[in-house]
């Protein structure tokens, strides 16, 4: 499922690119509500380790997911330099903890490639494609799968 995919007639995609655990990721900019600095979260009981807790986003309670931990790339020890990308997925507002936001890209459709077969491991389940851009390779994040299993208690 690729929620961030634009209509087919549109040849370019606007993506927000960011770094998590020394790797480049991106997703459709339309899902992004805002990008903010790291703020201390309130720990939630019985939550998965990658759920850092909740923050107050102008009166709303928003959970923050440690993307690195979520993707199996090790837990983040957040400091002031980390950022929280606030995104809306399926009507839910969530915060995604990343090392930094690098840039906003216009990506041609044909620059998006399927995930190579040999990629295995946890990451594969969360990446819907790869974007090749000059020297860089960005993993296109599938936000739905990031959120889906992060609510194990939700029945």
């Amino acid at each position: 499922m690729k929620p961030s995919e634009s209509p087919e007639d549109q040849s370019t995609l606007e993506m927000v690119a960011f770094r998590v655990a020394e790797q480049d990721f991106c997703f459709d900019i339309m899902s992004v509500r805002e990008i903010r600095g790291w703020t201390e979260t309130t720990t939630l009981p019985h939550a998965d380790s990658f759920v850092k807790g909740v923050i107050n986003l102008r009166g709303a309670v928003v959970p923050v997911i440690d993307l690195s931990d979520r993707l199996g790339l090790g837990r983040t020890d957040p400091c002031d330099r980390h950022v929280i990308i606030v995104a809306v997925v399926d009507g839910q507002t969530i915060g995604l903890l990343a090392n930094m936001v690098s840039d906003i890209l216009s990506v041609d459709d044909d620059a998006v490639h399927p995930v190579p077969e040999m990629v295995s491991g946890k990451v594969r389940g969360f990446v819907s494609g790869v974007v090749l851009l000059e020297e860089r390779m960005l993993r296109r994040l599938d936000l739905n799968s990031v959120v889906e299993r992060s609510n194990p208690v939700a029945a």
Partner: protein, 714 residues
Amino acid sequence: MTFAVSDEFRDSFFEECCELLEAMQDGFSLMIDGRENVETIHTVFRAVHSIKGGAGAFDLNELVAFAHRFETVLDQLRSGKVRPTSELYLLFQQCGDHLSDLVSAARNGTDGNSETEALLLQRLQAATQIDLVPSTAAQTSDDDAGFVPLALEIAPLTAPAADTQHGWRITFNAASELFTSGNEPLPLIRALERFGPVKITADLSSVPSLDRLDPMVCCMHWTIDVETSETEDVILEVFEFVMDCAVVEIQPLTGADLSTIATPPKDAGSTGPDAGQQAPIALDDRDIAPSAPPIAATTAGGSASQTIRVDFEKVDKLINLVGELVIKEAALSQKIGQQQVAHDNAVLLELEGLKHLASEIQESVMAIRAQPVKPLFQRMARTIRDAAASTGKTVRLVMEGEGTEIDKTVLERLVDPLTHMVRNSVDHGLETQEDRIAAGKSPEGMIQLTAAHRSGRVVIEITDDGAGINRDRVRQVAEEKGLIAPDDHLTPPEIDALLFLPGFSSKQEVSELSGRGVGLDVVRSEIEALGGRMSVSSEAGFGSTFTISLPLTLAVQEGMVVDIAGQTMVVPIGAIKETLYATSATTHSIGLGEKMLSIRGCLMPVVDLGVKFGFRAEASDLRDRVLLVVETTANKQCALVVDALHDQRQVVIKSLETNYCKIEGIAAATILGDGRIALIVDPEGIARRATDFSPASALMAQTAHSEGGALETI
């Protein structure tokens, strides 16, 4: 009547009807209880009269017709021509119910129950000897005009004129210097009203536009028709002092003119309930109709509780904003506190003032949403009357604490569960009259509805004086339905609690009233969805009491801010029975790590919230920890361990589920002064799990898994 009334007016008419019907039912209750006074009957009369008047303006003929007859009877009672009896009062109450039905029918555009109406009218006629059933065309047309009583009151004054149909037309052309000579036309016209009904036509043709108007000059001319037997000279005497600054002409009236005075044109009344004031004869009724059922008084009665109608969304938005204000204010004080300002600093003083203001604003805004439970109780009174009638039982309803206020949303969502419960009480709770007499009780059953504020919650009790819960029967049914095993040992309260289990319905035959396949479990889940709790207590032979405890509001809560393993959390104050320090004398270990607290001979499980929420591995030492004793609705107690108490404050409730999911043991979240989120503990849920021993209550816990989801975000 042909004039378009916008839906807005219609709506406000029906809203007003609700208030009037409430006042009317109040009056009847007072009468039935024998606590009525002179004012009571007037209030009831005015209520019915206003409904009639309004209904006339909206062309609701069915409603007008019934209200008119009802009003006639009430008027006779008011004037002492009909003897009040308790049977009559009960009949009135039923008529009141029918009137409510007609109002709802009119609102929904449906037809009322004409059979009921005919029956009621017959009974009214039989009881009062007033001729009600035939209704002349003239009467109905008057009703339409909506100002019948005024016309009626004028009638006796015109009595002398009745045999000598007589009247005068006076043309009163004031000269421009009328005002400067110290004269005023209004008293003159009023003076004419003393002679009989008058019809005044003002000629405004010579009134200039506003920018050219000289307020010192009288530009109006009047034609006044007065129906009277007085002579021309007597009439002219009125104008004696203005003769030199006005031209007054007088001529006798013809019969046709006269009839227009007696029956003012229909469209005069079409402007609504207070049309009387615009009807020609009622320029000012203070002087002419001392005994008139004053239209002015009706309006005054309506405005006794002055209200404005506001869109609910606006209030909610305001509440939301005030919540944010309180949070910001707390953030500000925290920031200033960190600046290490001297204690006598003026900023701190100002801040203190701001704090008070903010919390006062919050309270006032919350109060907007709060509404008295009275309309709800009155609805229940109706339900009980209907239920009693269909089961053939006589039921006396006692209401207490109707003034208790509760959040409007909660109130609205209480209607269904409460209706179900009072029906249950009449149907299952109370015995039949024969059984009651056999048990040595009064044949009249009693149901009591009580509302009260208790420790930050609203408690509503439904008590009946019936036979109480038949525990053997309940147990038997539960076993038959496989809800419990035959060898389960259950205490009486546990057996009572079985009633709330899904799939339990003890009455064998399905009755018309409560047996609709909806059990108390549905009622209970509805109450729990409101953040409420339900419990029942019962004594064989003396009746049962169902208790519903509800939060005052869904938006804020009084909470104790506590520290649990370095996490700041909030425990709702309402749940805390007492707080104490843990000592080795009072806490005992049972088994592996299980601890019990004993106070005043009472043993209860100890739950370390830090462990419960996974913030620390093990409950190490309880020394210096604080114990919060909480109690569940099933009267089970439990001690929660926290590390420290901080302070007590109002917290704004925020939902966790919007963006996350439900967490066991957590009711909701809130935002603290520093802008961080604190979780609100769900003591009821935790205590319930901690005290769950018996299979029945374990089953109950399963069904009650949603109690924390009760809290709504604002």
